[in-house]
Symmetry: C2
Subunit: 342 residues, 2 copies
Amino acid sequence: MADTSSRRPRRRAKQPTIAEVAREAGVSAITVSRVLNTPESVRETTRRRVEAAIETVGYVPNRLAGSLASAQSRFIAVIVPSLSNIVFTEVIQGLQATFEARGYQILLGNTDYDLQREDQLVSTFLGWSPAALVITGLRHSEACGRRLRQWEGPIVEIMELGTAIDLNVGLDHLKAGRCMAGHLRERGYRRVVYVGAQMARDYRARLRYEGHCEVLAAAGLEAPLLDMDQLGQFETGARALDQVLATHPEAEAIHFANDDLATGALLHANRLGIAVPQRIAIAGFNGLAIGQHVTPRLTSIASPRERIGRRAAQAVLARLDGEAAVDGPLDVGFTLMAGEST
Amino acid sequence: MADTSSRRPRRRAKQPTIAEVAREAGVSAITVSRVLNTPESVRETTRRRVEAAIETVGYVPNRLAGSLASAQSRFIAVIVPSLSNIVFTEVIQGLQATFEARGYQILLGNTDYDLQREDQLVSTFLGWSPAALVITGLRHSEACGRRLRQWEGPIVEIMELGTAIDLNVGLDHLKAGRCMAGHLRERGYRRVVYVGAQMARDYRARLRYEGHCEVLAAAGLEAPLLDMDQLGQFETGARALDQVLATHPEAEAIHFANDDLATGALLHANRLGIAVPQRIAIAGFNGLAIGQHVTPRLTSIASPRERIGRRAAQAVLARLDGEAAVDGPLDVGFTLMAGEST
DNA sequence: CGGTTCAATGTTAGCGCTAACATCCATTGT
DNA sequence: ACAATGGATGTTAGCGCTAACATTGAACCG
C-alpha cells in the first residue's frame, strides 16, 4: 500500500499577486493595496471593481511582503512559561480574543520556565518584527533584558506587578500571599505549612510565600515550607498532603502555592477520610473552577487571568493606536474566595 | 504623574542588517546568509569572522525578509476550535514541543467552533506562507476546503480519522462511543442517557453518540440524548445530573460527552450524597487527570492528546524533510479507563 | 605546464508589497 | 476665466534577504 511518492503535488503553484489583481481590475498595484489597507481612500466604484477582481483571481495577500515593505506586522509575540498550566492558557485566551478581534495574530512561545529559552525565543520572535511583545514576568536574563529594552515596539510584562520595561499588567503576589495568610490567621490557624512545587523556577509562588511569611512572623509564628520537586499537579498535591501529615503532624492548615496542588490534596483527603478543615485546612491560589465543585469548596484567591490577557492586549492596542501611554503598572487585583476548606 | 507622552521613544531604530554584518566581517552579504543558513558551506575561518561580526553589531536576522526571498517560512499555523478546553491546549503542547525543537514557531488561531471563522483564519494564515498548517477536524466550510486543497504545503487534520485533504492524525470517535457504550452494557446498565453540551457544534461528540446509539440499538435499548446548551464545563455537568434525575428517574447510567461534564456531575453527586455508581453510574471521555483523583474514580476513555500533537508534528516534519509520505490516516487509538464510577 | 575540477565566495536580480512622491483632473472661489 | 485646491490614482524605489548563476583560485592531473 505504501506509496513512496508524496500524496500532494509540490508545484510551487504561485499564488496570484497583487499585480494580477491590478491587471484584472484595470488599475495599478498600489490601488489594490489601498483597497486592502485604506479602503476609504479609494473611490467606491474603483473599490468594487478591485474587490471583484480579488474574488475572481482568488487573491490572498502575502503578509510577509506587506510586513517587510511597511516595516510593521500584524502579529503579537506571546511568551509564556508553560502551556500545561491552565492559568496561562486562560491568559492566552484573553489575549487572543482581544487581539484577533482587531486583526492581530498570536505567535506563541513557551519557555518551560527557562530564562535561557526565553532569551532565545525573544530573539527569534523579534526577527519576525512583531507588532508587540507580551511576556510573562518581570525577571529576564541579562541578555534578554538588554534585547527587550533595545527593541522599539510595545512590550507588556504580565502576571506580576513591578518595575517593567514598558507596559505592565498583573497583580501583587506578595500581597496575595499576605492576604491568604491573613485569612488563615483570622480563622485561627496557627500552625500553617506552605507547600509549593518547583519553587526555584516559580518565583511568583516564592513571592506569595514571602507574603505568607511576613504575616506569620508578625504573629510570632513559624512558616515551614515544603517544596515538592515534581510538577504542580493533582498527584503532587496528594503526595504533599501525605508528607505534611507525616512530617508536620501538628499542622492545622496547608497554604498551597496553587489550586492544582490544593485540589489534589483535598481530593486525596476525601479519599482517605481525613476531615477538611477539621483535621487540616487547605487553601490554594488562582481560584480555578474545579475548586468550587469539590466538597468542601476550596478556599483560594481568584486571579483574574483572562482579564490580565484582555487588559494587556488593550494596553498594547492603545499604544499601537498612538493613544496616550498608560502610565505605570496596571493592577488587576485579586479576590479572596473563602470556601469551606479553611 | 500621568505623562501623556509615550514612555518609550519610537525612533525606527533600524536594526542592523545583513549588509552591516558583511561590511564588518569584510565579506559579501550572501556569505553572511550562508553562515546563518548553511554554515557547512562556509570555510571555518570565514565563518568565525562572520559570527564575531554578528555578535559585534548585534545582528538579528529579519525573518520576514528571509521568508519572502526564499518563499518558505519557519512557522506553522495551528487552528483549534477552542482554547478553554484543556484537550486542545494539550494537543498544542505536543505540537509546540516537537516543532520548537526543530526551530519552527507556532501561529495560533481559535475558531470558537465557527466554520466561518475557520475559513477566515485559514485565509489569513496562508497569507503568512506558513511551512505547514495544522487544523482541527475534517469538516470545513466549502470555501475553506477549496482553499486548503489549493494550497501546496503540508496540512494535517487532527483529532479525528477519515478522509483527509493531506495528512491525518486522530482517533475514531465512533469506535470510542461504541467502546464506552459496550463497557456500560457489560456492567449491566440498560437505561443509559447520553449527555452532551452544544452538540450542534461539537460533531466529534455527535460521532461518539452515534457509536453509543449503535451499541444500545443492537441490544434493543433506547438511547435518550440530553444536549445541554451551555458550555461543557463542571457547572453544566452538575446541572445535567439534576436534569437527568428529574426527567429520566429510571436512568441507571449517564454517558457524558466529556470528562468536564462527567466530573462536574460526579462532584455534584458527591455533594448531594447520591451514590455513584449505585444510584447512577457516570462515564466520561478524554481521560483527564482530574478523573483519577475524584472518588469514585471516573470511568473514561483516554484520548492521547499530547501524542496527537507530537505525531501530527512528526508527520509534518517528515514531509518538510522530503521523506516518503505517510500513507493514510494515523490512528493514535484510545484506551478505556474503567474507574469505580460505573 | 596548460587544463580540469571543485570548494569558497561574489554578483545580480528579484520575492510581493507599500511609502513617498508625482500626476491628473474635477471642483471651487474671485 | 484662471489659479488654487484637494481627492483619486499612478510611478518609482526600495524593505532585507536569498536563489541562481558567475567568478576565483588552489589543488590536482597527465
